[in-house]
Each structure stands twice: as structure tokens, then as C-alpha cells.
């Protein structure tokens, strides 16, 4: 290949000096080799990463699927009889528990988070917005066990004394989880709001809209897909959170009657029993993990779809 090029070049008499041409040609080849090398390294890194993900997924499914087949999907998912020592593997109570704790935390954290994001992006003076941002990063940096500890020492006794019950409850989990997902919701929603083009805002104001009309009718609708992403990612975080939830929710394997009842989530179930589980019991915990996995994949799909819808 290079020979042909070389001959062509010489024929064209542009390069009468053959040595000079070789030099240039070699320099060119070297660059191409470096590019190839970098591309290969990048490709290998990506492949290694994908391999790890695929192996973990396969492992979870290899452990979980046979157990689900053995018990039957119906009995596994929709039966709330969980007595692993006696061979009863129904996760319905935990499934409902996860959803209950997650949704009740979102019930207050989503509106508060979006309002805070609007405040930071649109209303607060930039200095205050920046400080709030740092504060929220700090909030995101606290380990979940510390949140759980605070919940156990402060919130659980508070609920016990003021509202009754023993305090270890859906409500305690919802309060702690809500605090934990706020940074996710606020940061992503704020970025989405700030990414709304300045022209939209100016056009709306120039039409005689007030600042609040502009926020409600132009800025939030324009940031809608980003705000949905924020909510869904917050939800994924809430569903997956384990440590803090285990510490404050009481963990009994019954479907909660009200927000003061104790509850066990799917993640709690895994962390509480994995230490002594073996055989079918262990497989049932992996199957619980599989359900969580599928749930979170669905949430991520929703994010992708809403992002695509937003780009239209």
C-alpha cells in the first residue's frame, strides 16, 4: 500500500527528493500507530468493564432463576409467607415493603427537592445558590450508616413518643430515605433548570410575564425531561438503599398496616439473612436481588425514554 503511494508521489514529481519524502511518510505512519494503540487500549478497557457487568448479571440470574422456577413465579413474588428455614420463599411482603418505603419517602422528597432546585437556579442570589450547592454536596457525602444512626437515635424515639408504636416504622424509613435522596433530586433537577436557554426566560419576560409565570409556564416545562430523570434516579437510589433502612424500619416480614408499622424491604432482607443463608435460602436471596435488579433496569429505561422524549 505505502509502496504504491510512494511511487505515485514520485511519479507526480512533487517529491523529487526521495529521502525527504520517506521521512515524511514515516512520520505519518508513526502517528497512525499511536492512534491504533490508544484505540486498542480504550477498547480493551471498555470490554473488560462490560465483561464484569455481564458476569455479575449472569451470576445473579444463574443463582436466582432456578429457585424462582422451583418455587414458581407466582408463589415467589405474590406470596408473603417467608420462612426460609421451612422452605417458604414468598417475598411479597418485602416487595410491598420496598415500594411503600420508597414511595412514602418520595412523597415529600420530590416536591421539596424540585422546589429547592427552582429556588437555587432561579430565585436565590448566585452566592447563596453556590453555598446551598456545597451544602447539598456535603449531604450527599455522608455515609448511609451515619444517616441510619441519626435516624435510630433521633427520629425513631421521636416517632415512638409523639405518634406511638415502637418507632421503628415505615415513617422513620421514609424520613431518612427522603433526606438521602434529596441531593440526587436537587442536583439533577437544578442542572436541568439551569440548562434551559436564557433566551426562553428573556422572551417570556419580554412578553410581560412575571418571573413566577416564567418559571411555571416556560422554565419547568422546558426542563421537564431532566426533572423526570432526577425523580427516577432518586427513586432508584431509594429502592437500592439498604443500611439506613435496615436500622430504622424494624424489619418484620409482614405487610405494613400503616405508616407506624414496622416493615422489611427487599434490600434489608438480603443484608439481614445473607450471613447464615445457604442452599435454597441463599438462592432465594439472590432471587430477591434479581427482582431489585430488574426493577432498577426498568427505572433506567424510563430515564432513557424520558430523555429521548425531551429532545424532541
Amino acid at each position: 500500500m505505502e509502496k504504491i503511494v510512494e511511487i505515485d508521489m514520485i511519479k507526480s514529481k512533487k517529491y523529487k527528493d526521495k529521502a525527504g519524502f520517506r521521512k515524511r511518510n514515516n512520520a505519518m505512519l508513526k502517528n497512525i500507530n499511536a492512534e491504533k494503540l490508544i484505540e486498542t487500549i480504550l477498547l480493551l478497557s471498555a470490554a473488560a468493564f462490560i465483561l464484569v457487568i455481564v458476569l455479575i448479571t449472569l451470576f445473579i440470574f444463574a443463582k436466582g432463576v432456578p429457585l424462582v422456577m422451583q418455587v414458581g413465579i407466582d408463589d415467589f413474588l405474590f406470596n408473603s409467607d417467608w420462612r426460609p428455614m421451612k422452605g417458604a420463599f414468598g417475598i411479597w411482603a418485602m416487595f410491598v415493603g420496598s415500594l411503600t418505603v420508597t414511595f412514602s419517602s418520595m412523597l415529600w422528597a420530590v416536591p421539596l427537592g424540585i422546589i429547592t432546585a427552582v429556588f437555587m437556579a432561579e430565585i436565590a442570589p448566585p452566592v447563596i445558590g453556590r453555598w446551598l450547592g456545597r451544602l447539598i454536596e456535603l449531604l450527599a457525602g455522608i455515609p448511609s450508616v451515619v444517616y441510619g444512626f441519626i435516624g435510630l437515635i433521633v427520629i425513631v424515639p421521636f416517632i415512638r413518643e409523639v405518634l406511638g408504636g415502637n418507632g421503628l416504622s415505615v415513617l422513620a424509613g421514609a424520613i431518612i430515605l427522603g433526606i438521602m435522596i434529596l441531593p440526587t433530586i436537587i442536583n439533577i433537577a437544578r442542572d436541568a433548570i439551569m440548562a434551559v436557554p436564557q433566551e426562553y426566560k428573556e422572551s417570556s419576560l419580554a412578553l410581560g410575564a412575571t418571573h413566577y409565570q416564567t418559571i411555571a409556564r416556560v422554565i419547568i416545562p422546558a426542563a421537564r425531561s431532566g426533572i423526570i430523570t432526577a425523580v427516577v434516579l432518586g427513586m432508584g437510589r431509594a429502592i437500592g438503599e439498604t443500611m439506613a433502612v435496615v436500622m430504622v424500619t424494624g424489619n418484620s416480614t409482614v405487610i405494613p398496616e400503616n405508616i407506624l408499622s414496622p416493615v422489611r424491604t427487599m434490600t434489608s432482607n438480603i443484608v439481614l439473612e445473607m450471613g447464615y443463608a445457604a442452599g435454597d435460602h441463599q438462592a432465594a436471596l439472590f432471587a430477591t436481588g434479581m427482582v431489585l435488579f430488574i426493577f432498577i433496569v426498568c427505572l433506567n429505561l424510563m430515564v432513557t425514554i424520558s430523555a429521548k422524549a425531551g429532545r424532541k
Partner: protein
């Protein structure tokens, strides 16, 4: 009414932090005429335009001195409601900033925020505004499709329709054709010619031919000063100031 002065600015000065962007601008803008503001980039023409609907206030650290009178009323007065002012003085921006909603909702946006809820009344306003912006024939049967799917020229005319829908008296245009192709530009210029029968128009433009084509009066800005202001014919044919002559003959800028 031929010579009614719609907007009068006196000693207008604008500072961005320490930088003085405008130096004592005095200008009389006549009703139902097109006034063009020309000059090189950064000369203050856009800043001046934005003093006329108080849009500079959005930029943090801006100080504004001097007076602008709309029909004799000082718009920087403490009693003036900036929302009502902007309803009377509409604005079209450089980039066609259609909202991410349908064509109909874009045009109806202004009337809706000003409290019109009646559907047939809104329909009527939308139709009238789109007709006035020469868009009805192209878009009248596609009112519910997203505005973002239109071409740049159509988007800019939609923005004008959106401004017309709130029934302003003055329309400010900040380089409205700079992102458009020549055909869209000529359609826009044609539209400006029609609009001046009913509206007072102030247009900032980089393009001197455009200023010469569409405007009745022209102001030449340089480094924050209004160097020369006159009837467009006079300014282009017999500029009084040397700097104006240099600029319009292409010796700088």
C-alpha cells in the same frame, strides 16, 4: 400624528460593573417608523435597545442612569409596572427563541399570561397574529405541531407573531435576521415594512444594507456613544460625522 415621538431617551448611561457600556444617549424615536441602530459589535446598540424595555435589569451588576420616556411617561419611574411596560414594548431576539411547545401555544402564551382564557378569543388572537406575521398560510393547518420543527425563518416570524399577540405598541428587534438565510431575511424585511403601519419598530442590525432597506431613521453607535442619528437617507448619503462615513463605507468595523 406623523411626527409623534413615541420613545424619547435622555442621558441614558449603562454600566456593567465598572465598564461603561453607554454614554449619555439622547434619541427621539418616531411613532410608526422603523428606527435602525447600527455599529460594530460591542458598540452598545443592543444594550441601548434593552434599556427601552428594561431588560438590562436582568443582568446582575448593571447600573442604569438617565431617562426613557414612552409617550411622555418615564419608564424607569418607581411607580411603573415593568410587566405592563413589557406588554407595550415587545421584543424579538437574535436567536429565534420559540418555546418548546406547539405553534398555537407559543402564540397564545402572551395572551394567556395576561389573563385571557376564553378559547374562541384565543383562537381569534392566534389567527390574527399569525396572519399579521405572514405565517397563517404556511402554518394555519399545523397549529398543534411543535414549533421547534419549523425552519429558522418561520420560527423568527412565529416569535414576531407571539409578540404581536400581546398587542404591543413598540417592537424591539435585536438582530432578528442574523441567523436567517437570504430568502427568510427578505420575507422578514417585507414583514417589517408591513408592521410599521401599526407599530413603532426599533431594529438593531449588523447589516447596513438591511438598515438602509427597512428603516426610516438610523442611529450609528460606536464605543458606547451615539455618533450620529438622522433620517436613513441622510445618514447614508450625507453623513455629517467622519466616523459615520468611515463605517458606512467599510473603512472599519
Amino acid at each position: 400624528m406623523e411626527n409623534h415621538i413615541k420613545i424619547k431617551s435622555r442621558n441614558m448611561e449603562v454600566y456593567y460593573q465598572d465598564f461603561q457600556a453607554l454614554h449619555g444617549i439622547n434619541m427621539d424615536i418616531k411613532e410608526h417608523k422603523v428606527t435602525a441602530l447600527i455599529g460594530p459589535s460591542g458598540c452598545g446598540k443592543s444594550t441601548y435597545l434593552r434599556t427601552l424595555n428594561r431588560l438590562n435589569e436582568l443582568i446582575e451588576g448593571t447600573t442604569i442612569n438617565g431617562q426613557v420616556y414612552l409617550d411622555g411617561i418615564s419608564i424607569y419611574d418607581k411607580d411603573v409596572d415593568v410587566v405592563k411596560l413589557r406588554k407595550r414594548v415587545g421584543m424579538v431576539f437574535q436567536k429565534p427563541s420559540v418555546f418548546p411547545m406547539s405553534i398555537y401555544d407559543n402564540v397564545a402564551y402572551g395572551p394567556r399570561i395576561h389573563g385571557i382564557k376564553n378559547k374562541s378569543r384565543l383562537d381569534e388572537i392566534v389567527e390574527k397574529s399569525l396572519k399579521a406575521a405572514n405565517l397563517w398560510n404556511e402554518m394555519g393547518n399545523r397549529l398543534n405541531s411543535p414549533a421547534a420543527r419549523m425552519s429558522g425563518g418561520q420560527q423568527q416570524r412565529l416569535v414576531i407573531a407571539r409578540v404581536l399577540a400581546v398587542n404591543p405598541e413598540v417592537i424591539l428587534m435585536d438582530e432578528p435576521a442574523s441567523a436567517l438565510d437570504p430568502i427568510s431575511t427578505s420575507k422578514l424585511e417585507e414583514l417589517i415594512g408591513e408592521l410599521k403601519k401599526n407599530y413603532t419598530i426599533v431594529i438593531v442590525t449588523h447589516n447596513m444594507q438591511q438598515a438602509a432597506r427597512v428603516s426610516d431613521f438610523t442611529g450609528f453607535f460606536l464605543n458606547g456613544y451615539l455618533i450620529e442619528f438622522n433620517r436613513t437617507n441622510e445618514l447614508f448619503l450625507n453623513p455629517v460625522v467622519k466616523k459615520t462615513e468611515d463605517y458606512i463605507t467599510g473603512r472599519f468595523g
